[in-house]
Amino acid sequence: MSMPFYVSPEQMTQDKAEFARKGIARGRSLITLEYDEGILLVAENPLNLSKIGEIYDRIGFAGVGKYSEFDRLRQLGIQYADVQGFRFSREDVRAKALANLYSQMIGDEFNRAIKPLEVEIVVAEIGDPESPAHSANALYNVNFDGSILELEGFSVIGGANDNVKRHVEVNYQENMPLETALELGHDALQRAENGTSDLPSESLEVCLLDRSRTGRKFVRLTSPDVKEILTK
């Protein structure tokens, strides 16, 4: 069969989008929640390979989809942040600029590469009370085609997550304590169509951007920590 010279941009984009969506839906879901003392990121992830990572003092990263691709993005984010902080100052590193960079990068790959990146990522930033322009938390989603969304309160990405999303939307409250937020996340993840309905706490990857810390706010919770919080 001969290859056609011309494929309509619409067709090309749709095919790529479908391909990417399938790739992302095959993985597990990941939830980001604002709580009273910061931002919680939780995913079903029994492995040692992390989906959630620290970018900078106040900025965290999470990704779903193809691991090698979103981990590369994670590393790029750290490179960008560290160079910015080195070039200017630590306070000058902001999630908004990083999320925009991701949007460009992922968008470029979607348009120009043979296959799009099968990733969806979250960039979360905790507010800086000493900077009036940046005192609120920020939450960005960047999707496989580079489209960027600014969200408030929570975000659900990856896997087959309609039920997860619905559960979080219904039960989310502002200024929850950490225990409530983690329980909500845990509960919601168990409702994923392709998730594990009886999810042990050891299979959770849980990270926080914790306002009460000085300097670097990112914390990776150990299994015992998670268990302790969930049993409170």
């Binding site: 620290e54 560290d82 160079v83």
Partner: protein, 275 residues
Amino acid sequence: MATRFLRRTKLRFRFNGGYLGSSFSELLNDQCPELRPDFKGSELSAPFLSSEGTTVLALRYEGGVLVAGDRLATIGHQVASREIDKVYATDLHSVMAIAGAAGPAIEMARLLRIQLEHYEKIEGAPLELEGKANTLAQLIKQNLPMAMQGLVVVPVFAGFDLRRSIGRLWRYEPTGGRYEERDFDSVGSGSIFARESLKKSYRRDLNRSLAINLAIEALTDAADEDRATGGVDLVRGIFPLIKLCEQQGTEDVEEEEIREAYDRVVASQRLRLSR
């Protein structure tokens, strides 16, 4: 096709083809070479910063390792700055103290700090203390061309080794060679006097407060003999800086405690000279 386009436009932080790894200096070399500390080609007719106008020291004690430094920077015989910070916490369990040309030295401390943090974030775990000491050695080695032009950076690096649960310390040469010291060491123009002072009073079972006393005494002795080392400035309330590196992390010793140690040193000296 996409990569060719991106390479042509010299985009930084490309998805494909950029630097992959955990070394911050190599990243700078690859993506932003203009940020590297690099004084190559600059003409220096006279040293604009005094080389080695300082005393910094590190010593091991029962809790870990102590690092201390004076606060003076000089240009020749004149004071350049009275409150320079020469003791830098480079991460939770390591400290770097610098002697030599102030500008490049501070830049190097900054670079080491970001290098260690960069590695930790990319890899997901911090370097072993040995790895950190090695990283600094490489930075010093890269600085050799500048050292030859008079911008020498000579640090003392110390930290708490979580593997062995002890404090460890190293001194460096401008070539990047590093030497682990078992008990204590000092660098800078007053280092000989500090080392002699420590030699007389150091013991291997020092507790925290004795360690602080010894450090202050050594710095005071150094300032007494070396004009380029700053003593305690009571008028302005400027004291040496001391950091302690232990299992749980790095601590800044409060000025109050340093002042008390200094008072004790002065009192005992007065006693000796009073008859």
